[in-house]
């Protein structure tokens, strides 16, 4: 079930299975290419795109450098507008708070132990659905792609389109097979026409929206000065969950705050164009606390840390917290396109996931230690990022952390981590290289020896170097080193 990522294999192993799956690769290639072309067009419409991008980066940096102040301002504004603010240091605490609030809202009526959910990365990250289920509360995902993932007992593989790995035929089969056990079954004779599939979802979910007492959401932005929350969506399921229930609970990462109402003018231009390649997404909801007679009369905001302050403590890595979850970096990434989202072992796949997951969760697990390597460092992700996160820079920084170990912040405490296993040979090789490059005489002697013995060099490295040469061709050794050739010929002049 979604939300469980324990014991995930390292990226290369998980990716190996994915690249062998031709259906998956076809689905991904089709989807990522379609969206990246559309995005390029939507962005080209704005002559000031680069300036919007710079402003977005600046606003997020200002927020992050003074995050405590903005969080307090936000808390005050939300409270003044009739909301209640809760703070959760980790996933477990956030789940406990939400569970308590859902039970309190339902009173003694056990039939009300269900919630409708707006697609939210934060609640995916903390595994809220599983936690609620364990307490006898049914959580219904209402975004079409999330519904496909939930019914298929699958995991999301893309930030914007969590079911991007499924094609229409697969979706039809899931609907036909599973809708009945969750509520209203799929209509008889359902075809794989996308419009028909969307209609089936509309009918299936409508009864859930109409009777819902509690809605659970995330938020794309929270405005500190006004206490306004913003949810950007397309289908209207967000509006349903945000306006029909009596109680609304929003779980939002602390980095989602922006200082002012005016700041929205930047992100409401860059987010839709970067993510769905639209001038504007169909629906954006904004609410400030509660409004008498309109929408939920009880509003709870759960501010979530869960590794964000640990990420903030890293001066290079903290830029990952600028992310507005547009997913443009996934759509242009050659590694994501081939490996798919599941290989990243997290709700945050793709390039942004490769720098976010190892920071939010630490590099202790096999998959998290492997993620900084799930990239060719081509830099396409940085080019498209609407808040200019230098993903390659952070990847290299995290690789260093994995290999060298050192001081990091985990759960708010400074700790020293050991170098990850499996990098001892690499470290030894690098030490040897450093020594050789510092000693020209030794380097020359080594190069001459290598050239003379080149006919007897093996095609593969022996011993611990074998894994490296399994997937790489060793460079051909020239008969003469460049330095020797230069000394002999002066660059071919003689």
């Amino acid at each position: 079930m979604s939300g469980t990522y324990l014991g995930m294999p390292a990226f290369p192993k998980a990716a190996q299975d994915a690249v062998r799956n031709e259906t998956l690769r076809g689905n991904l290639r089709h989807a990522t290419h379609t969206i990246r072309d559309k995005r390029a067009k939507a962005v080209a419409e704005l002559a000031d795109w680069d300036r919007l991008r710079t402003a977005g980066k600046d606003i997020k940096d200002r927020t992050l450098r003074h995050l405590d102040r903005y969080l307090l301002q936000l808390e005050e504004a939300v409270t003044a507008a009739g909301g209640t603010v809760h703070w959760a240091a980790d996933a477990e605490e956030a789940n406990r708070i939400v569970t308590y609030l859902v039970k309190a809202a339902g009173g003694s009526d056990s039939e009300q132990r269900e919630v409708v959910k707006v697609k939210s990365m934060a609640t995916q990250e903390i595994g809220l659905n599983v936690a609620l289920e364990a307490e006898g509360i049914a959580a219904y995902e209402t975004d079409l792609a999330e519904l496909i993932v939930q019914l298929g007992e699958d995991r999301p593989s893309h930030i914007l389109v969590p079911a991007i790995h499924r094609n229409r035929g697969e979706i039809r089969d899931i609907f036909e097979e599973k809708m009945g056990s969750w509520g209203r079954p799929a209509p008889a004779g359902l075809t794989d026409n996308p419009a028909e599939l969307a209609e089936a979802a509309r009918v299936h979910l409508r009864e859930k929206f109409l009777r819902a007492k509690v809605g659970v959401s995330g938020a794309n932005f929270m405005v500190a000065e006004t206490g306004t929350l913003v949810v950007v969506e397309s289908e209207g399921n967000g509006r349903m969950c945000l306006t029909l229930p009596e109680t609304l609970i929003s779980v939002v990462g602390i980095e989602k705050v922006v200082p002012t109402w005016q700041d929205l003018e930047v992100f409401l231009q860059t987010l839709p164009r970067s993510s769905t390649a639209e001038r504007m997404n169909p629906y954006t909801s904004m609410w400030t606390g509660t409004t008498d007679g309109d929408g939920p009369q009880t509003f709870h905001l759960v501010l979530l840390d869960n590794g964000r302050t640990d990420t903030l403590a890293d001066e290079v890595g903290r830029q990952a917290l600028r992310c507005i979850r547009c997913s443009a970096c996934l759509n242009v990434c050659p590694v994501y396109e081939r490996a798919g989202g599941h290989a990243y072992g997290s709700v945050y796949p793709g390039p942004i996931g490769a720098i976010l997951s190892p920071q939010l969760r630490g590099t202790g697990s096999e998959v998290d230690a492997s993620l900084p390597y799930a990239s060719s460092l081509c830099g396409a992700c940085y080019d498209v990022c609407p808040v200019a996160i230098d993903i390659p820079e952070v990847l290299v920084h995290l690789r260093e952390r994995v290999v060298e170990g050192g001081e990091v912040t985990r759960n708010g405490e400074r700790v020293t981590i050991k170098p990850a296993k499996g990098h001892a040979v690499e470290r030894a090789a690098m030490r040897a290289a450093r020594w050789a490059l510092d000693h020209p005489g030794a380097l020359r002697a080594g190069q001459r020896l290598a050239s003379r013995t080149r006919r007897i060099h093996p095609k593969r490295l022996p011993g611990p170097g074998r894994a490296w040469s399994d997937t790489r061709t060793l460079p051909e050794m020239p008969a003469e080193s460049f330095r020797d050739w230069w000394q002999r010929t002066r660059g071919g002049a003689q």
Binding site: H30, D48, R51, A55, D58, R62, H66, D68, L71, T79, H86, W87, A88, A89, E93, R96, I97, Y100, L101, A104, T142, D143, L144, V161, I164, R168, P194, L197, A198, E199, A201, L205, L210, T226, E235, G236, R239, M240, T243, L244, Q262, E265, V266, L268, T276, E278, R279, M280, N281, P282, T284, S285, M286, T291, D294, G295, D305, T309, D310, G412
Partner: protein, 233 residues
């Protein structure tokens, strides 16, 4: 001010704030937020347009996202609304409390007032809804509703399958997103609408009409004193 209802640890507010402050140890103590420069070199509005061109762009962009756009002068509005509701086969239409009564004076469907006591189930039986709006954005083809008297509660423009939104041009039309935010009050609940509901979740094919109204009609009503009547589309 804050609470941690029911959760065993009540210290998380201080804990999270302390972590944030420790994480920012590298930020100079005397640095103020305004010391972190925000370069706002972006444009207030994209392109130089006359009022008429801005309205034209709004119509174009609304239509591009599959809203049905109509243009009419103030005198013709009741007749047009009557015609559109009839064409949709509506038996009933939701009416926000402050909608000018004249607008629906000619309409045939039963008028259903927007009442707090109505359940979502009751709203689900109504065919159409007619509202005004707070502001419309030309560059993005967006209508903004802010719960004003002629717009009603957020849910009435959500549950019925057919929404007709009346925009007073040129007064309610702005060029860009920055211009729209300037006009809006963050204290009011807002719904920004750009075309009918849609999804791209199946192979990234855009399908119009999921949970919100599947049909969005926009009437650009010219309410200028001169009263020149643009052609109706």
């Amino acid at each position: 001010m804050s609470s941690s209802s029911g959760s065993k640890s009540s210290g998380s507010r201080e804990r999270v704030l302390a972590r944030v402050r420790r994480a920012l140890a590298d930020v100079p103590r005397d640095e103020r937020p305004q010391d972190v420069r925000v370069e706002r070199g972006y444009l207030r509005v994209h392109g130089d347009r006359t009022t008429e061109q801005t309205v034209e762009l709004l119509a174009e962009n609304l239509a591009d996202y599959r809203a049905l756009v109509h243009r009419v002068d103030a005198a013709g509005l009741p007749r047009l609304l009557k015609r559109l509701l009839a064409a949709h086969g509506s038996q009933s239409v939701l009416v926000p409390p402050g909608l000018p009564p004249r607008w629906l004076a000619a309409a045939d469907p039963a008028l259903v007032p927007d009442r707090e006591a109505d359940t979502a189930y009751e709203l689900d039986t109504v065919d159409s809804v007619v509202t005004g709006c707070a502001v419309a954005i030309a560059e993005t083809g967006t209508l903004v509703l802010d719960g004003g008297p002629d717009q009603g509660r957020r849910r009435i423009t959500l549950v019925p399958d057919h929404h007709i939104c009346v925009v007073r041009v040129p007064d309610q039309v702005v060029g860009s997103v920055p211009e729209a935010l300037e006009r809006l009050d963050p204290g009011r609940p807002q719904t920004w609408i750009s075309g009918p509901s849609a999804t791209s979740d199946i192979e990234l094919n855009r399908v119009e009409g999921v949970h919100g109204p599947r049909m969005l009609e926009v009437i650009l009503v010219d309410d200028r004193a001169e009263g020149q009547a643009p052609s109706m589309r």
